[in-house]
């Protein structure tokens, strides 16, 4: 057994896990406040004033616009061509994702609501949407702002329902096109869906259980996938590139009876069918265990002790899926501060870059040059293609190519060679940022 952690080690460890990396100021703060009060403060982000970073984010215009406004201001190329519109180069749709990436990186580096930002990042990957898929380019901004952020430390069930109804997810996992095969309609006039399509699409239903709730071994069958897909028929988008808002279209909905995980959902439930599935899945014991396991992996180690996962799953169940309670149970557990898990986590690229900027006190405007380093390290923000999002297991991030890119980032950062990012006495930091120890938290 290794010796228990000293107070200083505990603080460094805590900040490595619940923030995007320690800074001298934050370390002092925990020292004077104490670990538990600091954690409790971080669990109430709405009470932490955060004007420094929000002033920076305010300058990123697109981040504050609705999906509808984004489509008007940064119109899709097809529309520009069809209507012969004259646009300024600044109206290219690529700015929508770029500014969203910049906002995320700025918040990771500068926000005082660090644990909240860590949780936003966690759920963004858990409920991944690929901004590169068609209309999603214009939908992820609202997804981040209106779907993920309001619930990141709230109730899991609310977050799950919000994602299920979000145009971004409906588009990404194709549910907006899932139609009752028996539907009697010439064409779904309320939507932009192409003519004469009939039949369910299993994509969302499968990932809802496999990735969002129960986990792949959580005890569902192919039959359940089909039944869940039937429940969600009619959960669609009014017009993805015109009026991108949630719509329940009763004509697309399968009105028959369904049986999901042994629970009967009577015929004629309409939109309630989907809500019942959300309730059923968010309260399922497999979900508690799956979410607890993923959170424990984020905060403790790639292979977290099962005693800890049990405790966290219990906190999740007993609080009816309260995310704060679950996080609290993990961070306040004895396992959290056990010497074995110190430096056990490899930083994801976002964590590595943000922690480097925080450690050296860099001034940054999150320029495209900085975002490119994240791409080269394998984490292009909001652009994970598979529905798993970016993985949270160390070995996936330390391939030779990625490690070399990380070392080169350290070299560039500490030579002040990254446009838009400045470090004082840069060269004195080279050894720290390029060190193998700095790849871990």
């Amino acid at each position: 057994m290794s010796a228990p952690l000293t107070d200083e080690q505990k603080i460094a460890h805590l900040l490595g896990r619940i923030t995007f990396g320690p800074t001298p100021a934050e370390t002092e703060k925990v020292k004077s406040k104490g670990i538990v009060p600091y954690l409790e403060e971080q669990l109430q982000p709405e009470k932490i004033p955060d004007s420094l970073v929000e002033d920076k984010v305010a300058k990123l215009k697109s981040v504050h616009l609705s999906s509808q406004e984004l489509l008007e201001l940064y119109p899709p190329p097809q529309q520009v061509k069809a209507k012969g519109m004259e646009l300024s180069p600044m109206q290219s749709p690529r700015y929508v994702v770029l500014e969203l990436q910049q906002a995320k990186l700025l918040r990771a580096v500068y926000s005082r609501r660090q644990l909240y930002e860590v949780m936003v990042d966690f759920w963004t990957n858990h409920f991944n949407v690929f901004a590169g898929k068609g209309a999603d380019r214009w939908l992820v901004t609202s997804y981040d702002r209106d779907t993920i952020r309001p619930h990141a430390l709230g109730r899991f069930r609310d977050l799950l329902l919000a994602t299920a109804k979000s145009p971004a997810m409906l588009f990404y996992l194709d549910n907006w096109l899932s139609v009752n095969p028996e539907a009697v309609m010439n064409r779904p006039r309320a939507t932009a869906a192409p003519v004469a399509r009939r039949g369910i699409n299993e994509n969302y239903a499968r990932e809802l259980m496999e990735l969002h709730t129960l986990g792949v071994d959580g005890g569902y069958t192919q039959k359940d996938v089909v039944e869940v897909a039937r429940c969600f028929t009619g959960w669609t988008i009014r017009r993805p590139r015109g009026q991108p808002e949630f719509l329940f279209d009763a004509r697309m909905h399968d009105r028959g009876e369904k049986v999901v995980l042994g629970t009967r959902i009577p015929a004629g439930g309409g939109m309630e069918d989907g809500v019942k599935v959300i309730d059923l899945l968010s309260r399922h014991p497999s979900t508690a265990r799956f979410i607890a396991g993923k959170l424990a992996r984020r905060f403790v180690s790639d292979d977290p002790p099962s005693s800890l996962v049990d405790q966290a799953a219990k906190a999740f169940r007993e609080s009816d899926g309260d995310i704060k309670d679950t996080v609290r149970a993990i961070v306040r557990s004895p396992e959290f501060f056990s010497p074995e898990v110190v430096q056990a986590k490899i930083k994801k690229p976002l964590e590595f870059v943000a922690s480097a900027l925080r450690a050296v006190g860099a001034e940054t405007n999150a320029s495209p040059a900085l975002l490119r380093s994240l791409v080269r390290m394998g984490e292009p923000l909001f652009l994970a293609q598979p529905p798993t999002g970016f993985p949270d297991v160390g070995s996936t991030w330390i391939s030779p190519d990625m490690l070399l890119t990380r070392i080169n980032f350290a070299i560039d950062l500490t030579a002040n060679r990254i446009a838009g990012t400045r470090v004082k006495n840069a060269e004195t930091w080279a050894e720290l940022v390029a060190a193998p120890e700095f790849q871990r938290r």
Binding site: R206, V216, S399, P400, L404, P436
Partner: protein, 408 residues
Amino acid sequence: MAFSRRLFLKTGGLGLLSLGLPPSFLVRAAEGEKSRRNKILVVVFQRGGMDGLNAVVPFKDRSYYSLRPSIAIAEPSSGKDRTIDLDGFYGLHPALAPLTPLFDKGHLAVIHAAGSPDNTRSHFDAQDYMELGTPGVKNTPDGWLNRLLTENKSDRNPFRAVSLTQRLPRILAGKAPALTMTSIEEFRLRDSLLAPALQKVYANIQDPLLRQGGENVFEAMRILKTMESTLPPPSSESYPAGRLGESLKQIGRLIKANIGIEIAFTEIEGWDTHVNEGGAEGQMANRLQELAGALAAFYRDLGDRMDDVALVTLSEFGRTARENGNRGTDHGHANVMFAMGGKIKGGKVYGRWPGLDPGVLYEGRDLALTTDFRAVCGEILSRHLGQKDLKKVFPAYEFAGPPFGIIA
């Protein structure tokens, strides 16, 4: 190597020391002499689950057309946008046209109704199973390409196995060193003066993940540096734009460099066609076009060297036999594989056709599997790479039945 060899002979070795080059340079130069034309296996993974039924079309199976009213590819006949007849029963998707010369020359084989026997329809489990080489078993610690490498432990050359991806794929994870690289040109330190100090730091840490990572990085950079003068120029062959073409181009260059590469891996995404898959044209046709263009360019680029190369394609599962409500297909079961190489006995579609009648579909919906991907890969491993003990690579798989004879 030619440069250092000349220099070595001229100076009798000793002179090098007086030029300020360390003795390790001599060892390196000698290493270069060993480089040889070895056999190479290239694996291309198609992530997302390719729709094998539209890639290689069983146009004589009556059910094919009734199952796919809006996305089926028309029977071979004159005119464009039709299946390209291979043998009177199967035909290639028209976007795969660049592959027909290879098939006709007998250097491209098709294996139909092949894949992983596990019934999972999860992308992530199915990919893991295929990459670990143990369908149904998730906790296998290493990928099957890595197990292939550990058979010869003495050789630590990181170029033995190269993945042209950022992330190390599971198929190559394991004890033996394996390299990932996205570009040969950019695989260098941005400040070479720092190299010695950094190399030392990474070599002296306890952390095995970062120590091994650092070792591979610095060793690979060292080898590339010694080969600077002998590395063939980037190919002038026209590869299609996109990641697959770029990575096959880089793989081709590494093979021609005789850098000791035995295994290469790359991947192409975008096969998860739940919606608007398209038929002769459209979403999947675009992917197939990129695939075929890249494979054909690689084949032309390597020329005679294709005799040393066997390339196989894998995809985690096929797709539903029936099209869904969105002119797409959902996750299914058996798929199609391609094998390409100078010694591949191509010009033929291998595998028993299970049929598409409703009564014989797997779980009532998917193409049934008649060939385990391990049977195909195993045969290539033993005949092409001389792998004797296939059990080490594919544990728990019984290599029963007569060989395919897919490779000479």
